[in-house]
């Protein structure tokens, strides 16, 4: 009996100790630097105007890019004294987001900014808001119906693939490689955005007469990137170039390359994360470039939603209202311009 109680005391003590250490280990300081536009004086649009209530909803995804979207929207809204942001978590799927948007509409915000789970599935939610007289800013995932949004601001997935393909084509041409072996690691393959990126990539490579030798999809996570890259490297004992669609999964891709001790090729990333831009400017790995798909579009969306709410146009344009569609250009970040893009990394 005494032995048993001693054991219990021992285990109990260990459990309490472990709990104490774990509690000490939870705190985390992500150090979020959001991508915001701090407006200099002199711009008439910057001056505080009529109060605008912006309703915001984005999927509660666990991916760095989506997290940056939400952070940026909040940070940009905080820059304006005349903007109040009502943020609603979109929940786990399109149906949950539709419900969230209904709640948002009932609160009668001036403008709604939404990153839909899926443009097609949430088209009706956009229409509902527009019908209720609330202008909708569609972020990144387009609605099929033009009546469902006032403004659409999105990245260019096809253009991203095009930019990556052009960079790889030019580099290989300059090196004089005639029959290059090119690998590709896309993100979740069933998504339309992944297919558009791949189409753009293939189209650009076709101009140089190149094609992809092997393609192993990952899932936008570092561990899936590591697994996909390991399989790809094993399949291609010699490679000339590699395009990885997403810098977040790229952490795992780079780890796999290091673990396999490979360095005979160069790699291009996608999205433009802070760690990727750092690696490019340090130039100490196979990662030589990345093509942007920047979550800064969320900051721009908030700025434009404010202008729409106040009935103002973009000050550099002649038109008195904000345009209907804006597609961001996918830019190629290399060692030469990495310093300029450092603050846009997420």
């Amino acid at each position: 009996m005494s032995a048993l109680s001693r054991r219990r005391v021992l285990f109990g003590g260990a459990a309490v100790g472990a709990g104490a250490l774990l509690t000490a280990c939870t705190s985390n300081d992500p150090g979020t630097d959001a991508q915001v536009k701090t407006n200099a004086s002199g711009d008439a649009n910057a001056a505080a105007g009529q109060k605008v209530v912006i309703g915001f909803t984005a999927p509660a995804a666990d991916h760095g890019w989506i997290a940056a979207i939400t952070n940026n929207a909040k940070a940009q809204a905080a820059q304006y004294s005349d903007v109040e942001l009502k943020s609603v978590e979109a929940g786990a799927d399109a149906a949950a987001q539709r419900a969230a948007i209904s709640t948002l509409i009932a609160q009668k915000p001036t403008v709604i900014v939404m990153l839909p789970w899926d443009g097609k599935e949430l088209n009706s939610a956009g229409l509902e808001a527009m019908k209720a007289g609330i202008p909708v800013v569609n972020l990144d995932r387009a609605f099929p119906s033009a009546a469902a949004y006032r403004l659409q601001i999105k990245g260019d997935n096809y253009g991203m693939g095009l930019a990556a393909g052009q960079y790889i084509g030019e580099q290989l041409k300059a090196k004089g490689v005639s029959n290059p072996i090119i690998g590709e690691i896309p993100g979740i393959d069933s998504l339309e955005l992944t297919q558009e990126r791949t189409q753009g990539f293939n189209a650009a490579l076709a101009v140089y007469g190149f094609k992809v030798a092997n393609r192993r999809p990952a899932e936008f996570t570092a561990d899936s990137g590591q697994a996909a890259a390991t399989a790809l490297l094993q399949a291609l004992p010699k490679m000339d170039a590699l395009w990885n669609h997403d810098d977040d999964q790229g952490i795992g891709v780079l780890a796999a390359i290091k673990q396999a001790n490979r360095s005979e090729f160069f790699m291009v990333g996608g999205a433009g994360s802070k760690s990727a831009i750092d690696a490019i400017s340090k130039d100490d790995s196979v990662l030589k470039a990345t093509v942007t798909y920047s979550p800064s579009m969320a900051s721009s969306a908030i700025s434009l939603a404010r202008l729409i709410g106040q009935g103002k146009g973009m000050s550099d344009l002649v038109e008195l209202q904000v345009p209907k569609e804006i597609t961001l250009a996918s830019e190629t970040i290399t060692k030469d311009n990495a310093a300029k893009y450092a603050k846009l990394g997420f």
């Binding site: 192993r216 561990d223 990137g225 094993q234 399949a235 977040d248």
Partner: protein, 334 residues
């Protein structure tokens, strides 16, 4: 169950049955390798590449293999653990917060293991003492553990800056990756635990017939808690292995590992209703999946087809299992 009631001669026949199933899986592996040799002779003609390829397959099987060992115990014990992927994510994320990383590699490993065991204990207590169905309890844990992981990480990918942790994936002992050694140790320990200890005997008894086990004096509830804690511990180990491989952790990591682990255990001959299963069979199950992934990669075939083939293999394995089982019972009736 049959094993306990069958006469000695048939019991011996049963043992052979396990061996036959394992041989069948080895046969599948051989077929996969032959397909590889036929489709990619230029790769297989290079001995260095072949050696590398074997090690790569083993290395990619290592983390999921460790999870499968824990899963096999839970399933033999009559349960199911749907939360393994989520536990890995939570343990990985918790081990890579800036605060944990400040405690060094030991702190990170300790955190991952303790988080794994703790979550497993919660699962076990909910199932044993809260009388929740394992499917529901671990499904709830799947959702909430990933939720907590997302909360802790702020939905960001947490990069491991610890060189010791990151070097686990690059270290080799006697030419074999450390990750593969870890898998070997876990499999060996699992085999001994299942086949050579009272804990293993009790697991089979609890899974086969909990009421009979209780009447035989086994503390079924406590044993069930221990089984889920064991599964949690395996997840903690796998979390460190995966974190080291990806040099980072995030809430979405180890996606759908529960399905891979259950599938590997099932095609390895573990009975989903409990009471029967082998660690070696589960290991072969993992290796079959890992080899298929490798085969599809070297032939640049799409992952969609790969998933369909995986599904087909699971169905085929269970069908064969049922067929064998049915013919065995018919044999006994005669």
């Amino acid at each position: 169950m049959i094993a306990e009631t069958a006469p000695a001669s048939q019991k011996k026949w049963r043992l052979d049955d396990n061996a036959v199933r394992n041989l069948g899986l080895v046969g599948v592996l051989v077929v996969l390798v032959i397909i590889g040799i036929v489709t990619k002779p230029e790769l297989y003609s290079d001995p260095t590449w072949v050696r590398n390829n074997v090690l790569t397959i083993l290395q990619q099987a290592s983390a999921i293999g460790v999870v499968t060992v824990g899963m096999t115990f839970v399933i033999i014990g009559g349960g199911i653990d749907l939360s393994v992927g989520a536990i890995i994510a939570l343990a990985g994320v918790w081990a890579t917060t800036l605060a944990t990383q400040s405690h060094g590699a030991i702190g990170m490993i300790f955190t991952a293991l303790v988080v794994g065991i703790a979550v497993g204990l919660v699962n076990g207590v909910l199932i044993s003492y809260g009388r929740l169905v394992p499917f529901i309890a671990t499904l709830a844990m799947l959702v909430s553990a990933r939720g907590l992981a997302a909360q802790i990480s702020g939905k960001q990918t947490q990069v491991s800056a610890n060189d010791t942790i990151n070097s686990i994936a690059t270290t080799k002992l006697l030419g074999v990756p450390l990750l593969v050694w870890i898998l070997a140790v876990v499999v060996a320990a699992g085999w001994v635990l299942l086949n050579r200890t009272t804990f293993g005997r009790r697991t089979v008894a609890v899974g086969g017939n909990p009421e009979a086990a209780r009447l035989a004096g086994i503390n079924v509830k406590r044993h069930t808690v221990l089984l889920y804690a064991l599964s949690g511990l395996c997840c903690g180990i796998a979390a460190i292995m995966l974190t080291s491989q990806a040099t980072s952790a995030q809430a979405a990591m180890a996606n759908l590992y529960e399905l891979d682990a259950i599938a590997a255990a099932i095609i390895g001959g573990t009975l989903l209703s409990g009471g029967r299963g082998t660690i070696i069979g589960a290991l072969f199950g993992v290796l079959v999946f890992s080899t298929i992934t490798n085969l599809f990669a070297i032939n640049n075939l799409s992952t969609e087809v790969q998933n369909m083939v995986k599904g087909g293999i699971i169905v085929a394995a269970v069908l064969i299992q049922q067929f064998r089982y049915r013919s065995l019972t018919q044999l006994l009736k005669r």
